[in-house]
Amino acid sequence: MLTVVKNQILVCILSVKYNIMREMLNKVTFLMNVTFMILNNASILIQWFVLFRLREDIGGYTMREVMLLWGLTAASFGLSRVLFARVYSLPELIVSGKLDSYLVQPKNVLLSVMTSSTNISAIGDLLYGLILLAVCGLGVRGFLLSLLFVVTGMIILTAFALFLGSLAFWFVRVEMLSGEMVMGLISFATYPDGIFQGISRFLLYFIMPVGMIVYHPVHILVRFDAGMFFTVLGYACLLSVAATVVFYRGLRRYASSSLMEARM
């Protein structure tokens, strides 16, 4: 059992490694993608400098907390799209019947699909996020804790995208809607939760998992709360299991398009 898990992890690592190596064939394009994505993300700080000129705090957040928010969001999103980019285009694979080549492989179908693509510009997102977390003055313990939250954020984000993407087994038009939902989630994640009240706050914590990806982690990093900490860990596990179950349930309904395709 342990050997099987070890082999599967090794296959996943190799898959991501070869994805990145393939993209690195043109080194100039690769470096430009990564560097410009960092600059692209950094330019949004202008918005926050302008807003903090108007008010000392925005939704109870100072510039430091906003940087934490951005750091966690960018790093979680980046890590998710470096390791599991295919999850974000899963509906397209399902609707066009292109899962066949994964089904015939003697390895875990879901992990093979998830790790079959890497978004190179997401490396820029990941680096930008890590740089922001490093300059926030969290200390060594705080920084290590923030890295843990990057991983939980990545798991929740990936599971959310997988859950939505898997709905394409039942509904054809999920493709665009799931993309919009994920981008909507990212948009919410980059603004302080203090500006949202009432029903919108409830939605952000319980329907769209923004609260679990960034808001709770930011609160924990500012002031540690064991209850909140275990809630985030538990939620990450629960959503992953739920998304996996939905994917495999849906896979029973999958219909091939008999497309000849080879994975290299």
């Binding site: 100039v28 394009t29 692209n40 202008i46 918005q47 302008v50 665009m176 500006i195 949202f196 919108s200």
Partner: protein, 292 residues
């Protein structure tokens, strides 16, 4: 046999007439772009339901900004950079409407894909100018999207913010012209950036920076919110003609400002088109095609 020949002759005659008719109808310069525009428009009308699925993203963005400005404006009637809360929210709603309703990213993607994939070798031989073909196609796309987003923006704005203070309904045609010019200028600049793919494999990183500049400086905030020293500089960038100008006219219409913005747009469009033709002419010389 004779009867058959007679009929055949009749067919040739009919076809000949049709060809002449088509030639007369579409032979004039610019007519062919009209045909492209109409076919893209008809195609996009078939996918109106898909476009409506994108409303969610627009709503999320507007919702966030309504909440953000609600938080920042503490007292009723407060002005920030000369804008009331309602004006500020309507400003963001209009710029975002143009952003979402135009989907300008598709222009860049199309040009990049054509150049990288080699499809441009087929398109550049057609009896049209490639860049104008892309521009026309794009116009056909936003002609369906933009009115849908405009309707959504008006509905959300009226329900969640209230009407635009001092809105001048008689100026709507000028505002529409200003929006159309803004979208076209934006597309021209995006094509220029994508044409860099002739030299570098992927021009997307430059598109990101250009988009982010428009988003942060002109879409989310009006230019007046930035320090006084930076404002003249921003007025020289595409921000002034692409997003600030049209949105400013909608939330705070003044005839003198309108003339100034329209004049700037015409100048920018002329300069942008000149640059686009220049970069394209230089770029195609760099093109080499692998057979296949």
């Amino acid at each position: 046999m004779r009867r058959q020949e007679k009929n055949a002759g009749a067919n040739v005659g009919v076809l000949g007439k049709r060809e002449k008719y088509i030639g007369r109808r579409y032979g004039l310069p610019g007519r062919k772009y009209g045909v492209i525009y109409r076919s893209v428009l008809m195609e996009n009308l078939q996918y109106a339901a898909n476009i409506a699925l994108g409303f969610f993203g627009y709503f999320v963005f507007i919702f966030i900004f309504i909440k953000l400005w609600d938080y920042i404006y503490q007292t009723p009637g407060e002005l920030i950079a000369g804008y009331s809360k309602e004006q500020m929210i309507w400003y963001v709603m209009m710029t975002e409407m143009m952003w979402f309703g135009s989907n300008a990213g598709s222009v860049g993607r199309q040009v990049k894909t054509d150049i990288r994939g080699g499809n441009i070798a087929y398109l550049m031989n057609k009896p049209y100018h490639y860049t104008l073909y892309i521009l026309t196609k794009y116009t056909g796309e936003w002609s369906v999207r933009l009115p849908m987003y405009a309707l959504l923006a008006v509905m959300i704005g009226t329900m969640m913010v209230g009407p635009v203070p001092g809105f001048k309904i008689v100026a709507v045609p000028v505002m529409a012209a200003c929006i159309i010019l803004g979208l076209t200028i934006n597309a021209v600049f995006k094509i220029c950036i994508s044409l860099l793919s002739f030299w570098i494999e992927d021009a997307s990183p430059f598109q990101w920076l250009y988009d982010k500049l428009l988003l942060v400086v002109g879409t989310i905030f009006p230019v007046e919110i930035f320090p006084q020293a930076l404002q003249p500089f921003f007025k020289l960038t595409p921000i002034y003609t692409v997003c600030y100008g049209p949105a400013k006219l909608i939330v705070d219409f003044r005839p003198d400002k309108c003339v100034e913005i329209l004049a700037a747009q015409v100048l920018y469009l002329a300069a942008g088109c000149g640059l686009m033709f220049f970069v394209y002419r230089k770029g195609v010389k760099k093109l080499y095609v692998n057979g296949g």
